[in-house]
Point group: C2
Chain length 462, copies 2
């Protein structure tokens, strides 16, 4: 199988890409209180292994893990109401999952704000190697004071500064991945040469934020570059994504807004000389599905009943710097402060409340259901109609699926939604390739070394 | 099984602790050129899995992985002669190995020089949880310009500065591990409390080098603290080890020097209020063993024949800042520069050459065999006689075993040395406990929260 050509389904029809976004015991804010959920399950590796293997059997493109580098809440009291998302750390978990899966992609979130590019490049190269070319890096910046305080700062960095650092960071990481040609390793016992010195190089990057000599230990990743994923939807985030992202994970509430976002991003990428297909936009979508619409709505309602409004407001205050704890719960929300934190998410929630005339209480309920991502509630046909409309309208190249609770919510998607997608030819029956890059149809980056000499040429010049 | 008492072998006799130090395709400098060795094997996970499972079946206390954060050599030409030690990264590899083993400890080297304490605390807590309490952290400082250049510096930090940073770093890491009581997680669906706020706390550390708020995500590690291992043998290194190390991995060439080192370190620990048993000294030892002495010597000689002297000298120059490339190979070496780099290793090699009257060529040969660690060559009885003498003389609590080549060199130790150790009652038949800490006989640290209220007291005060 060639590494250089994008892989398409055999019949040539464009199909959706699907991520399985794993997240604690579920994406609903009160998932851990649901009677069917074991809130301690994430402390057991078998829980994650079973979810990843289930997603692989269903032919998802990837499992996707979020991350922050803090527990949120200023006091033990404020912290105590929130279940942690990961009981360990995403790269640790994906390293273990790599050896219990064979085809599914493994995407970990790592922030560029508090971890040096050499470490990031090395860890993703190691995961890519361990998994045989299935690693993806969801590049984020850290936009909270709680995280800043774990790394010597009083406050988060300014939004623009975070993105300037991120742009230089990812450029260095890519140079480190390119510090070896794919054929750099000779392992020639006779000559004692382990590497071909003509096929490796230093990086010697010296920029505004980083100086890195390289080369990276110890060879090129199987995918050339692990797939670059980004989630920032602010202006700065979009500019970075247009330049460097291959997959963009975004929160969008309406098809029209999603289409404008996706096509705008592809326009920006194209203006930078990239093809529109080299950047896949995958909105998050939380799915409540059942054979009847009534049952699907009951699934959502059951979870909404577990939402602790005071706890949710405390969480909104810490995550978004938006203090709704002292306002009238049954009136419209006041504007958020538009701080240096999650600008795009602040705007998304405020716009949603304005457009739909939501009270604070109703907004909190919507936020708890999927943290600002699209929520679809209905029968398999209704859910798939909506996904298909987004996909065919240019609003999405695929979706990152947020199950409300695990494992039941993922089972629902696999058993009810995927068969309907497949009936319509919208999702794969089998993996197209062996690497995440191949399954996503993304080209493999070239490291920029001269083409190796053919044996005949070698003989002539040697 | 109690977590609070040290575990002793049933018959009460003190037994050796043994580490299996995994390192590329072998610890001999020319291992990768040996005909029995596959130099590309470390690129396959199965290679590491098989070695770790083999070591576990043999009841080693732990597998041990070294680390640096650079490839050494100023130019591609200089780099090209050295096979990499790990093709990925130690924590990535141990995370995967955790789910393919059940009892053996997993010790990874991570430097305190270029990775923030929050990241270090979190990664080892995650590995400890994933492995059910089998993680160990080999705390080192980074003493090379090659590493410094990957993290924005022109030169390594001064030796004393590196150790001052390390001392504060490990203190913060321990506070992060202690930011939760063992019983902090309630996961109480009825009240909506995930954590008991009285059983978690912020860290709020503000020191000379780090400011860290905490608490750590997301609960206390199963061992309380992953086991703290250290390898520094300089004065600064010994002071840090006496205060914080539970296992000290050291390079020692003679039993007398090893005894002085081990007992001196235990004296220092005792002066700080620690028990002598709370710090285990484990010298590295490379073993060439065969049924006859002649065969054992032939194993060493065979590998020595593959040493490329020019390549070895280049490596010594980069690692130790000791330029022997222009001196007479058949004369004694000139003194090393005693730079800010590996001070104790510079001294060890120079003393060895002086004491034994070695030429540069002979010294290079000794260095290639095991990088300064003890080399034992002989029959099983001869090797075990020496190990036993060190153990009973107070020179060692156990050993970190360096196999010259993998897997054959590890097989030799398992098939020839361990049976003889067991015949003499010097090594375990079965693991004593489930965690690394239990198997090493080390007490589990208390997080320093008040004792939890008993149900009766709760009722009285509640």
């Amino acid at each position: 199988m060639s590494h250089d050509t994008a892989h398409r389904p055999a019949r040539g029809k464009r199909q959706m890409k699907l991520g399985a976004f794993l997240f604690g015991v579920g994406h609903h804010g009160a998932a851990w209180r649901h009677p069917d959920v074991d809130p301690r399950a994430p402390f057991r590796f078998e829980y994650w292994r079973d979810l990843a293997q289930k997603a692989e059997r269903a032919r998802f493109d990837a499992v996707f893990l979020a991350d922050n580098v803090a527990l949120f809440g200023a006091t033990p009291e404020a912290i105590s109401y929130t279940a942690p998302v990961y009981t360990g750390e995403p790269l640790t978990l994906l390293s273990a999952l790599a050896t219990h899966t064979s085809h599914i992609g493994l995407i970990a979130t790592v922030s560029t704000t508090y971890l040096q590019p050499y470490h990031v490049a090395r860890k993703f190269a190691a995961l890519d190697q361990l998994s045989g070319g299935r690693a993806g890096w969801n590049l984020v910046t850290s936009g909270s004071d709680a995280e800043a305080a774990n790394f010597g700062l009083d406050h988060q960095l300014a939004h623009a500064a975070r993105y300037a650092i991120a742009a230089e960071h990812v450029a260095v990481v890519k140079q480190l991945w390119d510090s070896f040609a794919d054929d750099a390793i000779l392992a020639d016992k006779a000559s004692g040469r382990f590497y071909d010195p003509a096929r490796l190089r230093r990086v010697d990057h010296a920029g505004d934020h980083f100086r890195v000599a390289g080369p990276l230990q110890t060879g090129r990743p199987p995918q050339g570059h692990p797939v670059i994923v980004q989630a920032g939807s602010s202006d700065d985030g979009q500019a970075l994504a247009a330049a460097t992202a291959e997959v963009v994970f975004t929160a969008q509430q309406s098809r029209a807004a999603a289409r404008a976002f996706a096509q705008g991003l592809k326009d920006k990428a194209q203006a930078l000389g990239r093809s529109r297909d080299s950047l896949l936009v995958m909105p998050g979508v939380s799915i409540y599905v059942a054979p009847t619409r009534q049952e699907a709505e009951a699934k959502l309602a059951r979870l909404q009943a577990f939402v602790d409004v005071a706890g949710a407001l405390a969480s909104i205050r810490t995550f978004l710097d938006w203090d709704l704890t002292t306002v009238d719960l049954d009136a419209p929300p006041p504007p958020p402060p538009f701080t240096q934190g999650w600008q795009s998410r602040q705007k998304l929630f405020y716009d949603l409340a304005l457009e739909q005339g939501l009270s604070v209480r109703q907004l909190v309920s919507r936020m708890s259901a999927a943290r600002g991502h699209l929520v679809l509630v209905g029968t398999p046909a209704e859910v798939v109609d909506e996904l298909q409309a987004w996909f065919e309208d240019g609003a999405a190249d695929g979706f990152n699926i947020l199950a409300p609770i695990f494992p039941a919510g993922l089972d629902d998607v696999i058993e009810l939604v995927l068969p309907e997608l497949r009936r319509r030819g919208l999702f794969r029956e089998e993996y197209e390739g062996a690497t995440l890059r191949e399954n996503l149809g993304l080209a493999r980056p070239d490291a920029g070394f001269p083409a190796p000499l053919s044996p005949q040429t070698k003989e002539l010049v040697g």
